[in-house]
Symmetry: C2
Subunit: 359 residues, 2 copies
């Protein structure tokens, strides 16, 4: 029943042993401040309660929870960074409250039920790294009925993108290099630049229309099985005439309280995947005014940036032109931490398929 710890998992855990990745995440103020605010907003659910922090890293979220009055915080991380978290906890005289456990959530032992799960598990494109699985395991092993999960919900979006500058810098550049026509380089340039997903920052102006929801995750009810493969069909209508260069993915997460959620039910919350006024709504309905951590292009940038999949050739689209297709995200068989992205798209009577792997 306990999944094996593969050599890919070992390499993945080890990649978090380097301090630089933690420095980058902590210095991402949108990320860290939103988590701190969420903890403070839910202080009444944390005070005097037992918390588990899944993938605690340097332990900063665990310490925030201790500061919010948690009775006990289990800070779990399979990376060697857990040893550092333990030093930080000791130096802050929090060893009575924060218990650092160096191991996988599958393997460590916690001899009580917990009231709260907190985790910063989101990877690029939300699901890259497959760390949500660890939250699910922690939930199923330890969370009390009615307990709190922070964040409570996550949503992955896709939208069509125009990005002439990016294309020009990498591809058209070869047309005239110090006066030499090096356009013979362009096929290789397209392949090298656009074969794999690119993590980079775009802005709202790069987006051709409202995004489509690829996947909405209710952290209370999501199962490991439903993350193995995510499939959705989309249907965009371009709001402008522009070259379509590819698609962008981004996500947001919500920090709703358990009372606000249909806890442990498999009912889907009311998403706006269906057209409203003939178009998709930009964001999910958020009736509870829950705190949201957004990585959308129109919001302040984060270390997650956006994930772009560029076509080899742009497609010229007219205003109101339809862009239809589907996207399938699945764990790579080569390495479950990798993600296969199967993209089908059609517009103006031509259809295409693009396979990418996020490694």
């Amino acid at each position: 029943q306990r999944p094996p710890c593969t050599e890919f998992d070992m390499a993945y855990f080890h990649s978090y042993a380097h301090v630089g990745i933690h420095e980058e995440m902590i210095k991402d103020q949108v990320r860290t401040e939103t988590y701190r605010q969420a903890i403070m907003q839910h202080q009444s659910s944390i005070e005097g309660k037992v918390v588990v922090d899944v993938g605690c890293g340097t332990g900063i979220l665990s310490i925030f929870c201790a500061q919010a009055g948690a009775k006990r915080v289990y800070a779990v991380d399979a990376s060697e960074i857990a040893l550092q978290a333990n030093e930080v906890v000791k130096a802050n005289n929090l060893s009575d409250t924060v218990i650092v456990l160096h191991g996988r959530v599958e393997d460590v032992e916690i001899d009580e039920e917990v009231d709260v799960i907190i985790s910063e598990w989101m990877g690029y494109m939300l699901l890259y790294e497959s760390m949500l699985g660890s939250v699910i395991i922690a939930r199923d092993r330890w969370l009390k009925p009615g307990g709190l999960i922070l964040p409570s919900h996550a949503t992955l979006y896709i939208a069509p993108v125009t990005h002439p500058d990016r294309y020009s810098e990498s591809i058209d550049f070869w047309r005239n290099v110090y006066g030499i026509d090096m356009s013979a380089m362009m096929p290789l340039a397209k392949q090298c630049a656009f074969e794999e997903p690119c993590v980079e920052t775009i802005v709202g102006e790069n987006i051709l229309t409202w995004p489509h929801v690829v996947k909405h995750v209710d952290c209370y009810t999501v199962t490991i099985g439903e993350l193995e493969s995510v499939h959705t069909k989309y249907n965009f209508k371009s709001m402008m005439r522009a070259p379509l260069h590819g698609f962008a993915f981004w996500f947001d997460v919500e920090f709703a309280g358990p009372a606000m959620s249909p806890t442990h039910s498999h009912a889907q919350p009311s998403l706006t995947e269906t057209p409203v006024d003939g178009n998709q709504r930009k964001k999910r309905v958020n009736p509870n005014e829950a705190l949201v951590l957004s990585t959308a292009p129109e919001d302040p940038p984060t270390h997650w940036q956006q994930t772009l999949i560029y076509f080899y050739e742009p497609i010229d689209v007219e205003q109101d032109q339809l862009i239809e297709g589907s996207v399938t995200l699945s764990q790579s068989k080569e390495n479950a931490r990798f993600m296969n992205i199967h993209l089908e798209y059609a517009s103006g009577g031509r259809s295409f398929v693009k396979e990418s792997v996020m490694r």
Copy 2:
């Protein structure tokens, strides 16, 4: 006699198959424009002559030589990028002049002597990648007596550096993280941030005094043997009171004509390694007004940036305080493309040793 092509060599060649590295080098205008100017300045030695371009990449320097009137240019590269260079040459109708040879200079055949060798062989810290060895092999296989090598000379420098902002961002940062004392992270931060050489851009203000010449290379006379290990003693006198954070390395190369050089003699040109007016001179004497491509901190930045070796702890030095020691650069036994950097330094009565590997 012909050195074997190791799996490290194969990996090294393959790393140049990706278009991004060529885009970066070509877009480095200091690099590419200086090479173009050097070719134009030496046009009289190139016109109607036979040239070999060692490590031609996309072939841009070979095409510059063809534009300068070369009779024939052998463009040699062991990376698959040579196939692209061939496409570029064909598309520019230069196939009669530029002959692309896909292979190592050790392995390809050129059935004539050459008048000119051009090569952009410089790695980080000048010698990283060990590509100068390929220029030496090409010279010894094909260059006519009295032939031209571009660049003709190269000089590697070292200087003591103060960089409080860099230290503060990576290390002092942990003292106060959203109000939490995370200084327990500092030993790991120092190890992760400063164990290996850092390639980054500093400015003239970071340099505590005039640099010291680690190695001067005369491309006409240098031997592979003398590059296996480079050793020098240095002796700096700090021009200011400051925390000494480490040492910076950078280089320049000169494009002098063969008449200006003591061709095929082993006499060293007059370097200013000896103190002048009680101090080192900043640059080598350059009586020939040869074109120089500099990667010094006070000059416009290039893609080589500078290479920094930081100490785990800064050393406070007073104005005029001596900083003495030695540096030894040697090929790694693990991988001849890697470089071991053995640094000894002493100041204010304390002495230290730091070993780094540039991978």
